[in-house]
Symmetry: C3
Subunit: 638 residues, 3 copies
């Protein structure tokens, strides 16, 4: 498949006379795609019911005439102020009950049916006008669901919808009381109308109550999203896209993704490192201008799984300093190229930079573009040009099935954030730590959803922290080399402790009879090296003890190809575990220098140096921010 570059562009932000030159400059940079329109509702419909398509027609014409393929966004994440006057109750509310009003973006509650219908209506209108327009090569629906913590809403609208959702899920109030264990603390209800949202309580809500609200909230996103899909599908043959944001976990991306064609996401490596990743100060200082070495790859692999037929893009690629993280350094020279190539190596069809030119006004005025606000080229533009040239010379980066599969499951994130048991227990972090451990050994990874029913072709499968493993997946691990745990299959679907207690893996005698969470700084050594920290389970059963702590307590138990890990390993112990499992699975590992990462496509092995200094690998010196690749046959696994 041919990979290509794109860019996000806002013609409404710039004087009309600039458009032609902008389009020409994009093409000269090597850009093929341009995303427009997703924040432009106040220009498309400045007065309710009065549409102004002239400027948009004009912009599409200019861009298309220059040779660019247009992605048109539905503008529903920024309803105009008049919409909020029509629906004064359309706003979400935060957990303290404060309204989240007009003045920025994403100011709507997913449960508001009036606004949902208005959003579908603008999609129908746009679809009627542009759906069969051959210049529109893709549609983006809304933008970044969940950005700014917008999935959970404690509005009256959400409250009412939640009660209906509960009635649908449980049928009778007795069923709900039983499912949630409401006999505890006399929390029993006699009607669904009595059930509140799980906020503003004296102490924590019933975890089953909170998990239900998390599920409901995700479902509301899916329902919202599908209203737009339903409006556009009959009106266009172009692919539909939703553009996700990194480490947004409050809704099920797989479910949203099931109704569209392409998953895209927004890759801001430096912003993420500062804003939404755990890590030691040393780690954050080392990767300050490069981003975390695994965060992007993880999301690339995740959205490859979210996209139908593995179709995925980077819709917004950081091109320079951003504005929204606590601290915003500039990328190390070379990183814009590295990030772009890394995305392609993981299978991205398009890498689209955000944005063409830095806006000189409003909230994101300090967010770099490929161009400076004065229209001079910014450093990112030169790197994009390099990527475009290199792409032209390397037509084939087709993906290959990875040797290793890692299961990722949104409801597990909701379960463990509801019932963490330790203040810093994060499902996402656990999965990312697992992913890191694989990558430090040079392995390429496929991420799979929890409704996977076949693991064919994978030499090694990892299922860390999955709250409840569905029966088909549990069946599919039979005959596989698989690592489950910690905390995998520890609770029921209603977030209760099952009988028998987990992990309840058929044919494997191990039970986690007790769990401990450990504060930062507490480590329990495990031979032959490394330690466990943060989370430790007491494992009982007749399976073999593969690793034990200094007191002899089992940390890893095994029965043939099945392994259960009852703790959170540190890096050294993870390396030991991955090396051991890979050996069993017959996969060759390649322990990598700090900061170097590999990715294998069908025909190439890529290496990416995230470190701030050169590394020698495979006989080559790879500079800081360097990318190299070799034909696959020379490095293929034995």
């Amino acid at each position: 498949m041919k990979r290509s570059l794109g860019v996000c562009y806002y013609p409404e932000h710039w004087p009309r006379p600039m458009w032609e030159q902008d389009a020409a400059d994009m093409v000269a940079t090597g850009i093929s795609w341009v995303r427009i329109g997703e924040f432009a509702w106040s220009r498309i419909e400045p007065v309710p019911g009065q549409y102004d398509f002239d400027w948009l027609d004009d912009a599409i014409a200019v861009l298309s005439d220059a040779g660019l393929k247009v992605i048109l966004g539905t503008p529903t994440c920024t309803p105009p102020v008049w919409m909020t006057e029509r629906f004064p109750d359309m706003f979400a509310r935060d957990a303290q009950g404060h309204v989240r009003g007009f003045g920025s973006r994403r100011h709507y509650c997913f449960s508001h049916s009036g606004y949902r219908e208005a959003a579908a209506e603008i999609c129908r209108i746009l679809g009627d006008r542009y759906g069969r327009d051959p210049r529109i090569h893709a549609w983006q629906i809304d933008n970044e669901y969940g950005c700014h913590d917008t999935i959970l809403s404690w509005s009256d609208t959400a409250h009412e919808a939640f009660q209906t959702w509960l009635a649908n899920r449980y049928g009778t109030i007795d069923a709900l009381n039983t499912a949630w264990g409401n006999v505890f603390w006399s929390m029993e209800y006699s009607s669904f109308e009595q059930i509140g949202l799980p906020n503003l309580m004296v102490t924590q809500p019933n975890p089953s109550h909170e998990l239900a609200f998390r599920r409901f909230s995700s479902d509301q996103v899916v329902r919202w999203h599908e209203a737009q899909v339903a409006a556009l599908r009959p009106r266009t043959d172009a692919p539909l896209v939703h553009n996700y944001m990194g480490r947004v976990l409050d809704f099920d991306h797989f479910e949203v993704g099931s109704s569209i064609d392409i998953a895209s996401w927004d890759s801001y490596p430096i912003g993420f490192l500062s804003d939404r990743l755990e890590g030691t100060p040393e780690h954050k200082a080392r990767y300050l201008r490069q981003g975390d070495p695994d965060m992007q790859a993880f999301h690339h692999d995740l959205y490859r799984a979210v996209g139908n037929d593995n179709r995925w893009w980077v819709m917004e690629q950081q091109p320079g300093p951003v504005n929204w993280a606590p601290y915003n350094p500039a990328p190390l020279p070379g990183m814009v190229r590295l990030w772009s190539w890394e995305a392609f190596a993981h299978g991205a069809e398009v890498v689209s930079y955000f944005r063409w030119r830095q806006a000189p006004f409003a909230q994101e005025q300090m967010h770099a573009g490929l161009r400076r606000p004065d229209n001079a080229p910014a450093p990112g533009q030169h790197e994009a040009e390099t990527v475009a040239c290199e792409l032209a010379e390397m037509p084939d980066t087709d993906i290959a099935q990875a040797p290793v599969a890692l299961v990722f499951d949104y409801p597990s994130e909701w379960a463990w954030s509801t019932l963490p048991q330790g203040a810093d227990f994060s499902y996402f972090r656990l999965v990312l730590d697992t992913y890191r451990a694989l990558r430090r050994q040079g392995l390429s990874v496929d991420i799979l959803p929890s409704d996977t029913t076949s693991l064919a072709g994978y030499a090694l499968v990892l299922i860390p922290g999955m709250a409840s493993v569905p029966a088909p997946l549990m069946a599919a691990i039979k005959g596989q080399t698989v690592l489950l745990g910690p905390r995998t299959n520890a609770v029921t679907d209603e977030l209760c402790i099952p009988q028998p207690m987990g992990p309840a893996i058929p044919g494997f005698d191990v039970t986690a009879t007790r769990v401990e969470s450990l504060p930062p700084g507490i480590r329990r050594p495990v031979a032959p090296g490394g330690a466990v920290l943060r989370w430790v389970e007491t494992l009982e059963g007749s399976a073999n003890v593969s690793l034990a702590d200094a007191t002899g307590a089992p940390m890893l138990m095994s029965d043939g190809q099945t392994h259960y890990l009852g703790a959170w390993p540190d890096d050294a112990l993870w390396s030991e575990i991955v090396t051991r499992l890979a050996g069993e699975a017959g996969i060759e590992v390649t322990p990598l220098p700090e900061g170097l990462r590999l990715r294998d496509t069908q025909h190439h092995r890529f290496a990416f140096n995230y470190g701030p200094e050169p590394v020698v690998f495979n006989g080559e010196t790879i500079p800081a921010a360097g990318v190299v690749w070799w034909p696959r046959q020379t490095t293929e696994r034995a």
Copy 2:
């Protein structure tokens, strides 16, 4: 007196067929008491006015038939949802005005007279049915007043009640204005109806205003509590109990205790260390799986004083990992036994474990019980069995009056949290530090309330940080070896600076003319060793300077047996002071190895090793988590 074990049990949580076996298993474990009912209102009265006693009758019969003595709880800390529909304004509000609604527990405002009467009514109904039932050996009223910060409520109901309380206390608005010094900042009122709750202000409220609200809030608890006592007393001869929670300080436990028979408390040593104790990271790491060496003993001694005739219990003893602290490690093997024996050595009649079996659902599903959720014995059960056997062999652990008395006073906590003057000045911490200093020298301690009128029999008395010393107590120190300060008698009953300035000890010429609070890390050395930190007073007067800092400023001043301490000592200085005072008082001290603690009963000396490694003491090696005891004569003080 015979000491015995108990357990908390929730028959409503378990299938009826399990009850008999559960009861038999409890008895086999050596348990004599079982607490039930305190969260079961929705099962006792599922519909308003319709009572279902069948299950409760049944449970009482099963438990009693097995030989267990039943403690029946009034279920008023978990009003059913229908109660909140009857009284929509019964909820407390937090200081920002947000309602603290239904969905967990303790969702009521102590000032709500409608709910108070409803709570009394359920007591009358339970009392009518079970008050003379010989199988009910004790009653628990409500549970854990103040848990989840529930004493202070900023509801309209509380506001109105506060105004009435103020009118009762002050009589006229002029008297209130004068008492509070409302001329300051033109805060003068012309009627009680103008006075708000001390929240939502521009800056801090008048301390007298805030202290009045703290007093009022405590009084509302007492009034609430006494409504239940009044309902039950005429209906039963069984002792009445309230079950307190550790380090809950917002109401006066002595006042609540005055109307009941037995004080009980909830001892969660590991949870407390993580959740509600100051301490260095090293201290918290060292005692991670044991709990703080003094926290439990302090509360034991406190509730011995709260209980009438020194009658007190541990109603909930941690049996394994809990669910509610930020981090929840498991107890070191042996600690459940140690904690139990420590309670008995301090005079507990009953130590009752929370809970029999870990619930597999709802908020506390990760809270260990003596049994696992799958009904297998958890480690705590085996330790409980050991304690039961050991108890049977040692019939006498009668308490003895301690050589040292320490005065503890709830209003002082309210005073200094209202007017801390230093961000980390905590009255509780000051008293606990004093207590620790005594215990590190091997001393047993009695805690006394501030209305103590005689100190007979005590060789040494300590009154740290008591905001206003009542005249009878001040009179009682005459002829005693006594240490007052820091900050003792520093303010009037209305939290103003008295004339003359404190400490105003009759016959003792010392005045604290100025105070300083010092930030963390600042220490002022005091010869012969140690330092003061956090709080330093400028002492003037003709009394002798017993300890001075490096500049010669007096830190401890003395006149005969009376000593005033004008600073917060570090551990080393505390040891110096305690050793010196004990010497003067003719008490032998026993400097202890780190983590070891002693407790003397009438006939025994107990030693408890809280440390994670063995210690040698008195010629014996005491293992980690070890408990040993010797007949008293061999160790009695000279």
Copy 3:
């Protein structure tokens, strides 16, 4: 000019019989001025419309008869409770919408016209009675605008006033939309009535929106203030004063100052160090009992600029421990004298201690006075006496124009707190760091407002971080040795990026094409010593590179006398820069020992030792907290 001492006194707090002796004691201490009345509204008008002047007449007579000059405060910062009953909507609201009610002080919203008129009315009444009274030598209007974060109010009243203010500023809604760039995120409005306050949004508001609210809020203070000025001016010839608080930045002090005669401020060196200054723990420990060596001097120089004709006072000088900082240690002996002399050396006409006697009640009962609550002299009184004696022997401390000017601009604080781009970017801190760097080289500094049009007489001018440099100031730097940056002239007046990009200094080819914010701990070395941190700009242009980082990136660019600094230097680099610029400007620098500071008046050089140990300087040993001075000729610059 003759300098003198004052004191703040509250006759309404003390029994009438004490007044004469108090006045006599003040005079004996060497005090000439006494401030009264500013919190006494509830005594002046106990019932609406019923005035009680008897006590005030009496107090004025007693004080004046003793020889004291009276400063009378308008009592408008503490409206009585009846005023809040008349205007229930007069309270400010915080950003979450919570009312900031009665019970402390400053409980009013500056936008409330009803209360503004009531405040003017009490001024008219006071002016009518005392305006021509020769015993009243000055009037203080309100007190400490902005203390307790009271400038920004999110009340309905403020909301409505903001809309009116916007309509006045922008004329048409289209103009506003364009100025703010509201096309971004479809934030376009069709009427001013649609515009909310910039709170309770999903994510950050448009920076232009927020800056407009900051400007509006400052303007409301000016309008409020001028209502009182208008009431008093026709009624008195005595000078009008406003008393400002340290590091209060939310309104423009220069604008408030333009309508009055004397600027005064409240100097609490130890409270400020604990409460409102950044600094390492080592710095805060070293200066714990002295205060920061530059904070007071900076404000002295600032208020000299705010006052008309350089007239300024310290209205409240810390005399001992305060009550309001997180930690409140006592001043090192000698510091009260040092602070007083430092103020005089910077040109204060009056240094007035807060307060005469420590109040034994209400919020500030732990705030020291010159007298203890029991009326014994506190340490501060003795130091005040020393200052009074020394003052009498040194009649001349007339100020001289400093060789260095530093521009300070309130709107820049609002701009960069709205758009910090790095979490710890503070305009105030940047300017204070610049000031520190000058002072560490022994330089005296004049602070200038941004509307300065002439820089005549200054050898060196520094304009750090000024968001938008007005044209007259930009013109005035021509021919001067000047340092601009970092971030100077980086945005337009509407907080947008200008075209061309900044700093846009006429005749100087440098552009800051990109900026980076760096997290704590990240430093980029710059030869010949030092480093940059926190903020780094990418500088391009043909000007000379005077300093570059290790990669060669320019940090300081220069063209003749004009210098632009593109980063935030550390102390070492600041010393390098100041030494270099002073050399160019022909100013002699005097690198000072840690903690020592100099100040040159017309005829003297003063030295102040803020350090906790003696230093040797100029051949003299200056003790800790020591002050020395020499006739100017011996130390004058070459």
